[in-house]
């Protein structure tokens, strides 16, 4: 059974169809890159998988380990192991990062029928991961993402990924707003989480990110469909020739 199967997905937002029958299969251990021009529906796909309200699925289905993902609330999906690293992580003033991390981790564990982490174990774990991502302790005491730079916000997403240990990670435009050094730190964090038990879907506009997170498969999206799939060399091809050829194909 595949980890994720998206079958003929059609999605509307306020009467406008964004995805016109998209299909995608991801197995555990694989890293897929989804590339495409602005407005091709990449972020919509990530939002629908994570369960963001405001999207109407008019046709098709999404199976996660064979289960109907669309029937689940966003928090159920998270507990099952779906993680979306946001393109624009929100700022939550008044909620300390540590409190947020602990509440989220324990909510997921509780939903899976696992025991809650004890405070010392939790703190030890967070400090360990934060250190590897170069996240200072002081940041963890602040409100979630409050006053964080773009790079810090992305590292905070990866910190959560490392803490929650999801089986499917969707990285939505992880490179947006990052300079080359910040990108490298973030990519190292992601690569450290690659595992035969975990799949990743890396959504990006640029090939650059894929120099750091090397995918097994590359899919090109245009106008709400996957128009071409291939190996990592497809990304290089795109870099050379651009998206224009696919816009016609779609």
């Amino acid at each position: 059974m595949s980890l994720l199967e998206v079958k003929n997905l059609q999605v509307r937002v306020e009467e406008r169809e964004i995805l016109h029958g998209l299909s995608l299969t991801v197995n555990k251990g694989e890293v897929h890159a989804i590339m495409g021009p602005n407005g091709s529906g990449k972020s919509t796909l990530s939002h629908v998988i994570a369960g963001k309200p405001g999207y109407e699925v008019t046709n098709g289905e999404i199976l996660f380990r064979g289960e109907d993902l669309l029937a689940m609330a966003p928090d159920e999906r998270a507990a099952k192991g779906v993680f979306l690293a946001f393109q624009y992580p929100v700022e939550i003033p008044g909620v300390a990062t540590m409190t947020f991390l602990r509440t989220a981790l324990n909510a997921q564990r509780k939903a899976r029928g696992e025991s809650e982490y004890s405070t010392p174990d939790f703190l030890k774990k967070v400090r360990e991961v934060a250190k590897s991502l170069n996240i200072p302790q002081e940041m963890l005491r602040r409100g979630v993402n409050v006053g964080f730079s773009g790079g810090e916000k992305k590292r905070n997403e990866i910190l959560q990924m490392a803490l929650f240990q999801p089986s499917l990670c969707i990285l939505d435009e992880m490179d947006s707003g990052l300079d080359i050094d910040a990108l490298r730190v973030a990519a190292d964090g992601v690569n450290a989480l690659r595992s035969p038990e975990r799949a990743m879907v890396v959504i990006t506009h640029y090939q650059r990110l894929l120099n750091y997170i090397v995918p097994d498969f590359v899919h090109v999206m245009s106008k709400g469909r996957v128009v071409k799939s291939g190996g990592k060399e497809l990304a290089l091809e795109l870099e050379a020739s651009g998206y224009a050829q696919f816009e016609d194909a779609a």
Binding site: A50, G51, K52, P53, A73, P74, D75, R77, A78, A79, F83, L84, F86, P89, V90, I92, P93, G94, V95, T99, F100, T103, A104, L105, A107, Q108, A111, G143, Q160, F164
Partner: protein, 441 residues
């Protein structure tokens, strides 16, 4: 044409109630005269209604449909129920002063081993045999506010606490108002806290009911004078039963270089109004007044604050937060007046409301009246819903809808709660807020 305003049923019932009770109320002579004058003042105004600006959102003629008889002194069964309720609301390391059904309960209170310079007496004793100075201070608030006037007329008991000059109390005082849950009844209490020069004290007030209490009415007034260079930390928690009615006033006067840090939270009562009046009468004094309403069902809670800067170099901060669910209604009216002499006043007020349902209502009315020209003053008010993008982020991380809301609500009220200077009092407010959130989940 002469227009005669007919007395409403409720007003008539209150007059009857006073007529029946007046001979049983403590205090003769001068005190009885003051009560009679107060009741006449109340009768002239009648129950406040929506055509009076101050009561626009809290129309007692509509909300207070019946007048309950004055509560009888608690019997053994009532005290037993109160004792059980007290266990659930116990606060550690405080000096507990308990009023059951509006009557001081010495057996439930801790009156032994008073710190040096601390005097505590039941109001009844002071009205019956106190010195005239104290009695005058107890009746000092004028009768212009009809609900204060009514309280002056009817007050049966309460606590009179005096702290002598130079004394800083280490143990917080906790005045507990318990409705024992007998027959539906009304209680009228009044307490006085007098802090001398260079003193310090912490006061907690709690309002709650014993198990099974239904409708009851609590009318309370707290009169506070804070001497020069004295400091009071004050927390007030209204966790009354959901059919209760609570009308409370606080009349606070600060001397010079005094400091008041006060916080009020309302999670209980069906209809409540808290009307603190704070007079900065001495120069260089500082006031932080903060409050939180956490409401659901059909609760109505009104905080009407009057901050009066009469002298120069005063500073005041008000932070108020309301979280309103279901069909509940929160009212915040905050009026700051800066009198002509009060130059260099620094006064700021911010009120925010969070509506959790389409039928919830929040009315925020900040008002500034400035008669001095060299001041720093400001106010703001906002009302909104929980941010959907924040809710989705939290849910995508595994929090259920209620958990995500709870976290954001805690953050929302956090700013008001964080302003409580005393660590123990802050913990108390946080746990009261958590009780509300847990009951909601």
């Amino acid at each position: 044409m002469n227009v005669v305003v007919a007395k409403t049923e409720t007003a008539r019932a209150l007059s009857d109630c006073f007529a029946v009770a007046r001979d049983r109320l403590p205090g003769a002579g001068k005190v009885a005269d003051l009560r009679r004058q107060a009741f006449e003042a109340y009768e002239r105004a009648g129950l406040p209604h929506r055509r009076i600006e101050d009561w626009k959102y809290t129309d007692l003629r509509a909300l207070m449909r019946e007048v309950l008889p004055l509560a009888p002194a608690p019997d053994a069964a009532a005290l037993k129920r109160a004792t059980a309720a007290l266990k659930l609301h116990k606060i550690r390391s405080v000096r507990r002063l308990v009023l059951v059904d509006g009557v001081f309960a010495p057996d439930l209170s801790e009156m032994g081993g008073l710190e040096k310079g601390l005097s505590i007496r039941p109001l009844r004793d002071v009205l019956e045999a106190g010195d005239s100075g104290l009695q005058a201070q107890l009746f000092a608030p004028d009768n212009s506010n009809p609900m204060i006037a009514l309280n002056s007329a009817m007050a049966t008991d309460g606590l009179v606490i005096e702290i002598a000059d130079g004394i800083v109390l280490t143990q917080p005082l906790h005045i507990v108002h318990i409705a024992s849950g007998g027959l539906p009844a009304a209680t009228y209490t009044r307490s006085l806290l007098r802090l001398g020069k260079d003193t310090g004290a912490t006061l907690v007030e709690s309002f709650f009911a014993a198990d099974g209490a239904k409708a009851y009415q609590t009318h309370d007034a707290l009169i506070v004078s804070i001497g020069n260079k004295a400091r009071l930390d004050h927390v007030r928690l209204v966790e009354d039963g959901h059919e209760a009615f609570n009308i409370s006033s606080a009349v606070v006067t600060l001397g010079a270089h005094a400091h008041l840090n006060t916080f009020a939270m309302t999670t209980g009562a069906s209809v409540s109004r808290y009307q603190p009046t704070i007079l900065v009468a001495g120069e260089g004094s500082k006031v932080e007044t903060n409050g939180v309403n956490l409401l659901n069902g059909r609760q109505h809670a009104d905080t009407t604050l009057f901050m009066d800067h009469a002298v120069p170099h005063g500073a005041s901060r008000e932070i108020f937060r309301a979280v309103v669910d279901d069909r509940a209604h929160s009212v915040f009216q905050g009026r700051i007046i800066v009198r002509p002499r009060a130059q260099k006043t620094d006064a700021k007020m911010m009120t925010r409301a969070l509506l959790l349902s389409d039928d919830a209502e929040a009315d925020n009315k900040p008002e500034l009246e400035i008669f001095a020209d060299d001041v720093t003053c400001g106010h703001g008010a906002t009302t909104g819903a929980l941010d959907d993008s924040l809710l989705f982020y939290l849910r995508a991380r595994g929090l259920s809808e209620k958990e995500a809301q709870a976290l954001l609500i805690q953050a929302f009220v956090g700013e008001a709660i964080e302003s409580i200077a005393n660590d123990d009092l802050r913990e108390l407010a946080i746990s009261a807020a958590q009780r509300w959130l847990e009951a909601r989940a």
